[in-house]
Symmetry: C2
Subunit: 439 residues, 2 copies
């Protein structure tokens, strides 16, 4: 947790951006796993945590947009709670830690909100928060775009104290990757490597920021299965990041050959991806549209694949047509912060796009979460990749897609290649950027 | 997963127990963590898994109580899903793996259920399943006690193939405990020990069956905080169990002194708890009421505490009055299986009590989840403990509670003791019982 004035200032800044009304920010409750009493590890809502700091279930924050007054609501621990869960801070102690005034019990929160003429709230991804709303907000109410925009306008710019936490998240993430790489041996199951990673994230006092990808099938982009046995020389793609005890995420990807040097073929593809990552990071500075950096990475990848004889024709035209997306069907990166895809619950397009840069509708580039111009204080991922996805290759070939840019015959030698992705996290500085974790 | 006939037989047995109607068993969906796209690791509903085996989200099972016919509903993976998540089995392939017939899409399930005259369903602990019900079941409908009782009457008796999985769950759990004990050193944070445990559970292809307790404050019974630094000689209480990839839980507790031999005081209390566990396990056999074994453990603990000069008077009377609960305020154990508290979502009293044995209302004993007579095939935990809980001691002393049985002055020397719990899992056999994991 940061010192109380941090939160007080954030709430004031938020209130300043909204003319009137009551801002309602319910914290998360427990999420039942296989019965009500066996919950998943508690995860606070990121926006609640940004404005109220507290990392415990069933709290509510309201902010009066006119006065900026923030009230904390929650139920006091009973004596029985104290016997079973140890000494619990009172609501007053919690409020004091983060510069808030006590509002009262949860029921009192429902009453106070029900009496407000205008209630601003955010989109809801958890049912327990929907239940809160049903208790106190008119059925026809909708999330407030004003509030969404105001929250995004604050959370997008990371303060020095936030950047220090993100450095720590990336440092822990890098330790996880180093241990996983050192531990991965032929004959092991992917799950054992995943266990090394996750054990370290928990050991550091936090958790994984997202379900880790640990796969010799790196070409399957959303692959959370860990059932394969590793063989010598397999490319192992690991996409895993820690969330610190303060809630900040790292998101790091590395790819290496298990128990072996890379083959020439593996190394050649790796070098293209590494070059794309390096050159994008060189170009990052305030004012540069991230969409242009995505296109730059697509051109570097296309050039590299042309050198390997897998693509052909004009690089510019191939990227404009989207032919590179056979090998690189995802976006270059996204905002990162208290969420690994920062503020995704508030709406991807409101976070990553604006009037100047609209999301593409083209296969591949439409998956880019961030298109707008970068600004100082943004923290973002840079994660180019090259994948050989048999099912997609077969489909495109059958449809005669982009035959002027892709040599399908040459692709046969890469059918079982898998995939390579490399990912760093950076903070945009006044002049350029700095790779996080490098302090 | 077990072979298909296992599930077919279970469904037939279930249908045989209900005269008529449609049994609706929705599987679990994804549980969002901090936004919809970042879910907690998927956890299937245990009853769905018991009758349909499949461990993937958003499936529905219906069973016709008259014919026993089981239908599987779910949406087929799209080509896009396949690109992002790899080759997905079709609904027909999934159904075939567990002896089911394809019912159709989720929407078709809603239609089929809406047309049924009588729908049996279970209590709901997850919102996504509540949403399923809202789509197809009358608002005034209530969970079916007939179905609850039928499910409990099947899941309570573990088959040989289930017991083999539970042995494996306990073996993995014991490896976790051995590694944690070997790893725990003075100067480490509790979280680091928790990381060792959880890493191994994941490495074994499963997960933790519940949030681990790793605490030098063993007297705080529901303590999932891991922030303390371990000091030499601290009693460290670890309550942690693995869930296997097949979904079965282990639940094991050990307590040891960090980097040291136990002191005489620690050892004396430890020996009482160990004696309680040993003697209870000796007494377990079909026909014995678990409530009586709980009372036996309370008497052994009371006798031991009398030897230490902390309790006094008649053991029988002290236990009848509930005086032991100052030191032992929880139950001796509970059913365990696909859930660590097996079938707790169906109702604790329906699982653990019956017309002969009703739940006690006395402080301490009222927390006992299992009171009924044991039967062959039950798998249960045995977990006596002794704790020194300052807040409870102060309260009882101030209220003059049980002064004829408790020497409050003598307790001063134990104020910072913490707590000791020891827990094994056993299966009730024809003649007595066997400790799980011991094969």
């Amino acid at each position: 947790m940061f010192p109380a004035p941090t939160y007080t200032q954030r709430r004031k800044q938020l209130a300043d951006r909204l003319p009137t009304g009551l801002i309602l920010l319910p914290g998360n409750g427990e999420a039942p796993m296989n019965y009500r009493g066996n919950a998943y590890p508690f995860r606070q809502d990121s926006t609640f945590r940004y404005f109220a700091g507290l990392n415990r279930p069933d709290l509510l924050l309201t902010i009066d947009a006119e006065t900026g007054e923030g009230l904390l609501y929650g139920d006091e621990a009973t004596l029985d709670d104290t016997i079973w869960m140890g000494e619990q801070p009172s609501l007053a102690e919690l409020a004091q830690q983060v510069g808030l005034t006590v509002g009262g019990s949860r029921n009192e929160a429902f009453g106070a909100v029900a009496m407000a003429e205008v209630v601003h709230y955010l989109p809801l991804y958890r049912e327990e928060r929907r239940r809160v709303l049903r208790r106190c907000v008119n059925h026809s109410a909708r999330p407030s775009e004003e509030l969404i925009r105001a929250v995004i306008s604050l959370r997008s710019y990371k303060s020095a104290e936030e950047i220090a936490e993100m450095d720590r998240a990336v440092q822990i993430s890098m330790e996880m990757h180093r241990a996983a790489r050192a531990g991965a041996k032929p004959g092991m199951r992917e799950a054992e490597v995943a266990g090394i990673l996750e054990g370290l994230a928990i050991g550091a006092g936090g958790r994984l920021a997202y379900s880790a990808i640990v796969s010799r099938d790196g070409h399957i982009l959303h692959n959370h299965a860990h059932g394969n046995v590793l063989r010598q020389g397999d490319l192992l793609l690991i996409d895993a990041g820690a969330e610190t005890d303060t809630g900040y995420a790292g998101d790091i990807t590395r790819t290496f050959a298990v128990g072996a040097e890379m083959t020439e073929q593996q190394r050649a593809v790796y070098d293209i991806v590494a070059e794309a990552k390096r050159r994008v990071i060189e170009e990052i500075k305030p004012g540069v549209p991230y969409r242009e950096l995505h296109d730059l990475s697509a051109r570097i990848i296309t050039d590299g694949l042309k050198d390997l004889g897998l693509m052909k024709g004009s690089t510019e035209d191939a990227v404009a047509a989207g032919a590179h997306a056979l090998f690189y069907p995802h976006g270059l990166g996204h905002m990162i912060g208290l969420d690994v895809h920062d503020m995704e619950d508030l709406g991807e397009d409101l976070v990553g796009y604006d009037a100047e840069f609209r999301r593409s509708e083209q296969f591949g580039t439409r998956n880019l979460r961030l298109g707008r111009r970068l600004e100082e204080g943004f923290t973002i991922t840079v994660e180019p990749g090259i994948y050989f996805i048999p099912i997609l290759t077969d489909r495109w070939r059958a449809e005669g897609m982009h035959t002027e840019f892709i040599d399908y015959d040459a692709l046969a030698a890469y059918r079982d290649f898998g995939g390579i992705r490399l990912e760093d996290n950076v903070v945009v500085t006044a002049d350029n950027c700095r790779t996080l974790g490098s302090v």
